[in-house]
Symmetry: C2
């Protein structure tokens, strides 16, 4: 890590800390609500639900809902319900994804399907989806309802699109962008949009926060896809290579493929299109991605989307403490460890 990088990382992690600080009282209410709503006649639901939420990471989505509510000077209590709702949607997706991808670990923790089983993960996912929809009802806003119900459809549609066989690496990029918008960015967009709706913000602000969330979400997924080939991540003990092992065609591979010589193109073709790969092939894949600077190029694309997100904010919101935090969060999204 260079000296500048160290300084940047300190600044960026403090951006996340500032975000946490500013929404902390609300986040405690969200935590309490999440705890209460996972209590069920079926004890298993509480255990599986809370385990998965705890393994889910930084909880960026509900934090964004709360921060956007603050940005819109919202004074009610529905943002707590909606943040919990966004968290439940995300957790349900994680539970089903881990079954689909047969994942045993998530951020170093055993997945629910690993600890309890596939049946349990599928059903608790369904339960949390139902709870998410109950929470939306509490906001008593038809528009919020439409945004979040639409998100739930778009997310699963994106996941199904991702199942289709890749036919043509050269022309996959528009399809890839469609998938990551649907499966990842749509929930970020909705998480940021709904607090603007419940605060009766101007139409331009509602659209701006949707744009902010959508572009942040695209950047987030691009970075995630880059991290999965990162040697640095591997050194830090993080899991890498999942996308390759599952045969997912992601941005770093598309960018490496573009610059590849004909032998290397054959390698990618065989591994991704013909699905003829072993776990050992990942080392080769990782080297090819590195050789052509495809991680840096992916991050560059992600940075472009964070700039769009920043622009959306700048066009519709005057400067403020919370706006600065939301801007700095964009830096955090692209500057995770590589």
């Amino acid at each position: 890590m260079t000296k500048t990088n160290i300084v940047n990382n300190i600044q960026l992690s403090s951006a996340l800390d500032l975000l946490r600080d500013v929404i902390q009282p609300d986040m405690l209410k969200v935590d309490k609500l999440v705890q209460d709503l996972t209590v069920s006649k079926a004890k298993l639901i509480h255990e599986v639900g809370l385990h998965t939420i705890k393994s889910g990471g930084k909880r960026l989505r509900p934090m964004l809902t709360l921060a956007c509510a603050k940005l819109c000077n919202y004074t009610g209590e529905s943002h707590i319900d909606l943040a919990a709702c966004v968290e439940f949607f995300h957790t349900a997706t994680l539970l089903h994804d881990d079954v689909i991808d047969k994942s045993n670990l998530r951020r170093g923790n055993p997945t629910a399907n690993n600890l309890w089983g596939n049946r349990e993960s599928i059903l608790v996912g369904d339960y949390l989806l139902g709870k998410a929809f109950q929470l939306i009802g509490r906001a008593k806003s038809l528009r919020v309802y439409e945004v979040l119900a639409n998100a739930s459809v778009v997310i699963s549609e994106g996941e199904v699109l991702q199942l289709a066989k890749v036919q043509d690496i050269d022309n996959f990029e528009p399809y890839y962008m469609q998938i990551i918008k649907a499966k990842t960015a749509e929930l970020f967009a909705s998480a940021c949009e709904v607090p603007a709706i419940i605060s009766d913000s101007a139409e331009s602000k509602i659209l701006a926060l949707r744009e902010y969330g959508m572009n942040l979400g695209i950047a987030f997924q691009l970075v995630d896809d880059a991290l999965d080939y990162s040697a640095k991540q591997e050194k830090l003990g993080k899991a890498v290579g999942d996308d390759f092992r599952e045969g997912k065609l992601t941005m770093p591979v598309m960018l490496a493929y573009k610059k590849a010589n004909s032998d290397e193109k054959n390698f990618w073709h065989k591994k991704i299109i013909e699905n003829n790969r072993s776990d050992d092939d990942f080392k080769v894949a990782q080297k090819l991605v590195e050789k052509y600077g495809a991680i840096e190029a992916t991050i560059k694309k992600a940075t472009y989307y964070t700039q769009l997100a920043k622009k959306a904010l700048d066009n519709s919101f005057p400067d403020s403490f919370v706006k600065n935090i939301l801007t700095d969060v964009l830096g955090f999204v692209v500057a995770r460890e590589f």
Copy 2:
């Protein structure tokens, strides 16, 4: 089959035909809506969704929504949305259930997980759940929303309860009733309740249709559980023995267990509590269920619930053509082939 049984069966199947006739124009609209709403950017969703709906059977749940709307003299168009919504909820449950139970066949047709795979079934199930929630929004009734969002939570809660290990066959009945109310009867209850809500019916009528649907649903599941041990079903080429093979403790077994001698009790204990069973054991289980008349006794219990359903209708609705059909449907539910 005795002569009286033949006559009864003719009458009962004509009860279902009458139901179909009276709602046919509406059902065509539901079919069209279901077709339209499963069209997606992901072609797979349409194929998997329609395949599962077609394999799902008689489509009793949406038919009941339409018939109850008629009973309440509803004149709008929201009952079409809600019938499709109920169908989508049910289909999503089938898709996830077949993955959970590892079923290869449903009513003689290959299941979606068999034809396409588990990943596809889980995700298309999620997609249909999302679409179901979009449909609820179109009715623009907060109460309808609360009823159906609650149903979706209760259904998955029931399914999770069913996963818990049976500890004590003697005292399982209350737990079993709780499970079948949740996983099956709740959707029937909601399917019948929501048309009363959208027609602004009196509170007593809303509650009566909920009672009707709940008791019909309990009877429906009891009969389903009886059919799974029926030699007659087996002769007709229908699948039997699924519950036993999955170690589900259902009413016919509980009733056979009550009357069993100590050797027989040991058999059930070993097979259900200790999960120590092979496929061949089903023949023995079936004989024990038959020996103690446990199928007939289960049907008797189901009949009791249809009487409660009839009473709920009679207390709140004057005689009418549609009411007669809804009453006759109760006979159909308990008099399927044994």
